[in-house]
């Protein structure tokens, strides 16, 4: 999506802003704060049958039923035991037709970053054939690299739906 933006300047402008950083394994990721509705500790999740393995189930968010996805499994990282630090980030994702809330399980939430356009670099080219549509870019913060995620692309409703039957 972003890769298709007409000019680099425009793209960079749009990417600057506040980000919520979190950890998955050894890597630091970040998503735009504006998309985050809520951060909560891990809680009991009701498993839903016939869904892909990374869809952990549904939780009750003040009366709303919200699906929860384990980002580790989604990104192909090994599954680990949930701990006190494990968090669910409830984010609003938008697809063509609607907006929906989705919970994302991450190892731990670290901080809120304010990124200037200058801090952000485009995703490096990993060679042909490697397409990473859900990467907004990379940010260098205190000599560490944070991967900026486009949360809409990470998990679209269509994807979950189309994968649904496979998990059965």
């Amino acid at each position: 999506m972003v890769a298709a933006a007409p000019t680099a300047a425009l793209k960079v402008d749009r990417r600057a802003g506040k980000y919520l950083a979190f950890q998955l394994g050894n890597e630091e990721f970040a998503i735009q704060v504006l998309r985050v509705r809520e951060i909560m500790g891990i809680q009991e999740i009701t498993a839903v049958p016939h869904t892909p393995n990374y869809v952990k189930g549904v939780i009750n968010l003040r009366g709303k039923v919200v699906p929860v996805v384990d980002l580790r499994l989604k990104f192909g990282l090994p599954e680990i035991e949930y701990t006190q630090r494990t968090s669910i980030i409830v984010a609003q994702i938008a697809n063509r037709s609607s907006k929906l809330l989705i919970g994302i399980i991450v190892d731990c939430v670290s901080e809120v970053l304010t990124l200037q356009a200058a801090d952000i670099e485009d995703t490096p080219d990993f060679g042909s054939g490697v397409e990473l549509p859900y990467l907004l870019g990379m940010a260098k913060v205190k000599a560490k690299v944070k991967i900026l995620l486009d949360i809409d692309m990470v998990l679209t409703a269509q994807e979950v739906m189309s994968l649904g039957p496979l998990g059965a």
Binding site: T46, V48, P49, T51, V55, N60, G63, V65, S98
Partner: protein, 598 residues
């Protein structure tokens, strides 16, 4: 009279031409017009049926006249020529009638009813135009009318309307006179008259007087309110049963909590009642059907309505219209005999179809019954055998035989008519009723009539559920789907071909579905005789759902799992359980269907 009508037409036509009228294309005005006109048409139909029973009822004629008049006025204002012209014609007829120059006959009423239907179609067309996003504007307005006209050319009446536009009034009056003069064959004469029956006027009068006491609310808002109130009730009960509170509850807190419970209860009832509408509106529609069908078949049928004031969730009423029509149609087509036959059987020539609504044990019960020939058990059984719906030599009880008519593809009509008899009737009825989480049963006494009983929940928003446990998971089984629950003995379980398990339930074998296998979760017990079997029925077949244990019973608000998880086989939705966790509501029919495929 003719002059008077002419004058009216003139005044309407003084409106600026289509393209010059800035109001004509306003979607909001059009929408209001559609809504209001619909209401008028409904009340016109009602009045017409009254008039049919009592042709001298001047009050009804006035009410109908007012209805058409209002629609005509509004249509003229919005440059909806087709509607205006049709309404105008009907108005002329009605004017003659109320001045005593025209006798109200069945044919006249037929014609007005037809016009009413025509207007209804015009409105539907209009609505479609608005929805398909045609930008409103002068040109589109013209296109709209063109669409309506072409719609009318499709049906006979429409063509008539078109042809008549020029010398309309004159022709109508002549026709009307003809009708008045030759009461013997009024139908042919009136046939030329496109009578647009618009019941709107009467409704308008009503809305005017009611205006101060009621407002129109978007149904989406109402649905949301009901949902939220459901949440509130659950949250309230969570607080009340909180273990921290329960220990050491002080009298003041207890008092306040029970006050809160009372208020939430009240709020819930009020919110629910806002969405309730009397079932009478639904019954009214059948009045028209009964009239049309009985004329068509030459049967004499009287419609008895009872409990019209019984209130039902609006969503249910909407979904119930088709099944009800089906059943009434079936009753008249199959159930009721010709008058001669009835007399021979020692019954009165006029048959009765009875619609009765009422409350029963927290449910709404709607009964459709007739005093016709009743259901023929032997014939049903024979058909079922022909169609392989029952195995040969099966011993069926009376109820089981009657329930065969709800099987897909079953039809006992000896010949296919355009009304019923294609065998798509009763199974559709049952599907629809089940969708509403209700059930329908048939009963009959040979020669004395048949009766269909629909049992429906009061509302769709909340269901009574059994909370069952499988391992760590909690599931909700809708109570309406549950026949019985049992802990089987060891010898009640048998295995067919080593894989398919069957349980013996009251002498009948029913397949066992192990929920933990289906949902791929860990169960505490894997031996059926340690588990609980929930006996349910889908599509006429019994089956048993194997779960670990029964945890309790709870009323739950049904929630969608969201766009992402809409079509999961066996899961109907989610609900917040008493402990705040989400429980999945099972769709038993989906489970057994999946079992068939497996």
């Amino acid at each position: 009279m003719a002059r008077r009508s002419d004058h009216k037409t003139m005044s309407v036509e003084e409106q600026p031409a289509v393209s010059a009228n800035p109001l004509a294309g306003d979607p909001e005005l059009l929408n209001d017009f559609i809504l209001e006109s619909r209401e008028h048409l409904t009340s016109i139909e009602l009045q017409l049926l009254t008039l049919d029973q009592d042709p001298g009822n001047a009050e009804a004629i006035h009410a109908i006249f007012r209805g058409f008049h209002t629609i005509k006025g509004m249509a003229g204002f919005l440059d909806l020529d087709a509607i205006r012209e049709v309404s105008h014609e009907v108005e002329t007829i009605l004017d003659l009638a109320r001045n005593g120059a025209l006798e109200i006959t069945g044919a006249v009423i037929d014609r007005i009813l037809e016009s009413k239907d025509y207007l209804n179609r015009c409105l539907t067309e209009l609505e479609l135009m608005l929805q398909t996003g045609q930008p409103p504007g002068a040109t589109d307005q013209a296109g709209l009318i063109e669409g309506i006209r072409s719609l009318s050319t499709g049906g006979g009446e429409a063509a008539e309307v078109r042809g008549r536009v020029g010398p309309a009034t004159e022709g109508l009056v002549r026709l009307a006179r003809g009708v008045a003069a030759t009461p013997g064959e009024p139908a042919a004469d009136v046939a030329g008259v496109p009578a647009p029956g618009n019941p709107e006027a009467a409704k308008v009068m009503e809305t005017k007087t009611d205006g101060a006491r009621s407002i129109k609310v978007d149904t989406a808002k109402l649905d949301y309110l009901v949902d939220m109130v459901g949440e509130m009730v659950i949250a309230q009960s969570l607080v009340k049963h909180d273990p921290d509170l329960a220990s050491g509850l002080r009298p003041r807190l207890a008092r306040n909590l029970s006050q809160l419970a009372r208020i939430t209860d009240d709020v819930q009832r009020t919110a629910m009642s806002m969405r309730m509408i009397p079932v009478g509106q639904l019954f009214q529609k059948t009045g028209r059907l009964v009239r049309d069908l009985s004329r068509k078949y030459g049967k004499q049928v009287e419609l008895d309505l009872e409990g019209e004031e019984t209130e039902l969730d609006r969503n249910i009423v909407e979904e119930l219209a088709d099944p009800l029509m089906h059943m009434v149609r079936n009753a008249i087509d199959h159930g009721i005999e010709m008058p001669e036959e009835r007399v021979r059987a020692g019954k009165s020539a006029t048959a009765r179809v009875r619609l009765k609504a009422g409350h029963q044990a927290g449910h709404i019960v709607i009964q459709v019954s007739d005093d016709g020939r009743g259901l023929d058990q032997e014939q049903i059984l024979r058909k079922a055998l022909e169609r392989n719906l029952v195995p040969p030599g099966a011993e069926l009880t009376e109820t089981e035989i009657f329930n065969l008519i709800f099987q897909p593809g079953f039809s006992t009509a000896e010949k296919v008519t355009d009304v019923s008899g294609r065998g798509v009737g009763m199974d559709v009825v049952r599907k629809q009723v089940q969708k509403l989480r209700g059930r329908v049963d048939a009963s009959s006494v040979r020669g004395q009539g048949a009766s269909f009983l629909m049992k429906l929940p009061l509302t769709l928003a909340i269901i009574d559920g059994l909370v069952v446990g499988v391992g760590q998971q909690r599931y909700i089984v809708p109570i309406f789907a549950v026949r019985e629950m049992l802990k089987p003995s060891k010898d009640a379980i048998s295995t067919v071909q080593g894989s398919h398990e069957m349980a013996l339930v009251r002498g009948a074998l029913a397949p066992v579905i192990r929920l933990y296998q289906r949902f791929n979760v860990k169960a505490r017990f894997e031996k059926p005789w340690e588990c609980l079997l929930i006996v349910s029925e889908s599509g006429g077949r019994q089956f048993c759902l194997m779960v670990d244990e029964l945890i309790g019973k709870q009323e739950v608000v049904i929630k969608s799992l969201g766009d992402t998880m809409q079509n999961i086989p066996g899961v109907a939705g989610g609900a917040i359980l008493g402990d705040g966790r989400v429980g999945l509501i099972l769709d038993l029919e989906g489970l057994i269907d999946a079992n068939d495929r497996a």
